[in-house]
């Protein structure tokens, strides 16, 4: 695992890389690497057995610089074009979780020629009537000064999920972890607070452009981005087949069910050509 920094247009972007082979860009979510964890977790490491996983931290997250005042999702997409160019990535696999999934989908509909294969895990980004995305900001305000019970209930299968207790303990935790969480929320507040709340109403109608092989993977008990959003991605992405549900996981499937989530991705990569021969079943 290597932690590096690249510069794009004078801004620092923090990157973690793991594995060899075809490049796979992983865009992180909230309960995820860069969002709360400083390093790759078992999920990312396992994914690294099947591809060269490159995970940049979103603007303002972890050690990455902010984009400046008043930016929005479009600026983030342009930012990522710069990141891809800086890394010399012309064509690559793109995987996104949570808000990272939203960014991945926005990139895929605009630049389908650059995205070899697309995988979304608990991705926000779509407007689905009657299935509102959970309010991560309100639930990040602790109860009784420190309790994050309802935030864990929103992000995990249940409020005492071990990964939830590890990264969202009901106590003032490690300052660096608290800072990462804060920076992630601040990033979220720039791209997703204003209505539309973590979605782009016109994205659904643009999904037809993302014709590359696509997988849609969802924690079966996701309360942050309800499974109906996964169904909507499956319906809209021309090459997506079924919604792959991860049993025993909520929104934070990569943290909660690392092997099952990574295996679903690896299987997708293996069956859609290209990286298949590198898949390890160990």
């Amino acid at each position: 695992m290597t932690n590096t920094m690249v510069a794009v247009r004078g801004r620092k972007v923090a990157l973690i890389e793991e594995g060899r082979g075809e490049p796979l860009v992983y865009l992180h979510g909230f309960a995820d690497v860069h969002g709360v964890a400083g390093d790759f977790q078992p999920f990312h490491l396992r994914l690294g057995t099947a591809a060269r996983v490159i995970a940049p931290a979103h603007p303002g997250c972890a050690q990455s610089d902010e984009l400046g005042d008043g930016y929005g999702i479009d600026d983030v997409i342009f930012h990522y074009l710069e990141v891809f160019d800086a890394l010399g990535l012309t064509s690559f696999d793109l995987v996104g979780h949570c808000v990272g999934g939203w960014i991945a989908a926005e990139v895929a509909v605009r630049y389908p020629e650059r995205v070899r294969r697309l995988a979304l895990i608990g991705a926000c980004g779509l407007f689905v009537p009657g299935a509102p995305i959970g309010d991560v900001f309100m639930h990040s305000q602790p109860e009784r000064g420190v309790q994050l019970t309802t935030l864990r209930r929103l992000l995990f299968a249940h409020e005492s999920a071990p990964a939830g207790l590890r990264f969202f303990a009901s106590a003032r935790g490690d300052v660096e972890e608290e800072m990462r969480r804060y920076q992630m929320l601040r990033f979220g507040s720039f791209v997703g607070f204003k209505p539309p709340y973590f979605y782009n109403r016109v994205l659904r109608g643009r999904l037809y452009r993302a014709v590359m092989p696509a997988a849609v993977i969802w924690g079966a008990m996701d309360r942050m981005v309800p499974c109906a959003h996964g169904d909507a991605y499956v319906a809209g992405l021309p090459a997506a087949k079924d919604l792959t549900l991860i049993a025993g996981a909520g929104h934070a499937a990569p943290l909660e069910q690392a092997d099952a989530t990574a295996n679903a991705l690896i299987e997708f990569l293996g069956t859609t050509g290209g990286a298949g021969k590198r898949v390890s079943n160990g």
Binding site: G60, D69, G70, Y71, D135, V136, F137, M138, H139, S140, Q141, P142, E143, R144, G145, V146, R172, V175, E178, M179, R181, Y182, Q183, L185, R186, S189, F190, F193, K194, P195, Y197
Partner: protein, 413 residues
Amino acid sequence: MTKPVQLYCWHFMSYPYLPADFDERYDTGWVTVPNRLWDAERSRGLYQEYIDQLAYADEIGFDGMVLNEHHQNIYGLMPSPNLIAAALSQRTRRGKIVILGNLLPLHLNPLRMAEEYAMLDNMSDGRLIAGFAPGSGPETFNYDVPSAPSREQFWEAVDLIHRAWTEDGPFAWEGRHYPLRYVNPWPRPTQQPHPPVWIPSSRSTETLVNIAKRGYCYFLSSRSHGSETAKSQAQFAKVLEDQGDRFDPFRMGILMSAHVGESDAQAQDEAKEGVWYFLKNCLKGHLRREGRMLTAGPGIPYIPPSEFRSYLKFSDPSAPLLGDAEDWSDLQRAQSIIVGGPDTVYRRIMDIVEHAKCGHLLIQFHMGNMPDALVRKSMTLFAQEVAPRLREHSAKLFGRHFPEMERSAEMAQ
């Protein structure tokens, strides 16, 4: 003589008819507090009662009346303070009407604020003090206003309004958030070049610089007045000096709550119910650890990460907030809600003024579900027995500390 402290009566207009077991049954008084608790029948005449109390403040010699904007909560029933200000403009003749303030990022277009404030300034014959505020945590949830980008939006709105008042129109405003091709408001304000502008802030240096360089008045948005208040004053004075300006007491205002009774014991006895209704119910969701506090924190991430890091370093999440006060001595330590006989109230307010060197005192008399007669009695005792002493001694104090104010007052005579 140097100008004495200016005494304003601040009314929050809280909802007074909550069930007695509200605190046990509901986790917040803000944003999600169920509005089926609103009792339409009992609430008939409630706004009238509150407006009458403010008009009474004007009658008995307060220097002004203060209103502010809140949404979807039991703490303050003024989603539109401008409506109440319009009523006051027709009920009162003398005191300033302070709106502290309109929450600019919540409204579609700042030009509307420039227009409404100009109307109010005309309707009140130049008595408006125009406050602008960005809105705090609950408001970002109430109106889905993203907290981080809204700061930039706020200052653009302030500058647009200022220019709309002071520059001849029509002109084009080429802002990022509010581009307008024709800015040309009718009416223009009565006060020229523009009504005084007050801006609430905690202690963010960035905000203080923004206030100072525009020549505005800083309202310290804190309900407690320990040593932090004097530190805020010193910080603002330093910011003003860095801008080539100079602090005087009328560049700064503070908020406090008071209840005056005939004696300390009587004051406590009669204020008890209203004060604890206010602390336990109205502050739940705002300045109480109990329940979920929505005013500031990681879910309202508008401060830069570096400031959040020092907040993490210096704050204690288990420390009690004002609303967690359990008895009178807790309240006294917070130096926020001052309850006592005239001597006690005078002494404790004067103590704050001596430390904070602050000229605008914005005082809340109506707390929680306090009955009308009691609020008026407290205001009367304040006006008759506390205010004259505060005026006399603050004028001397300001004269000693700010001799240049004294000189300019003499020259004016």
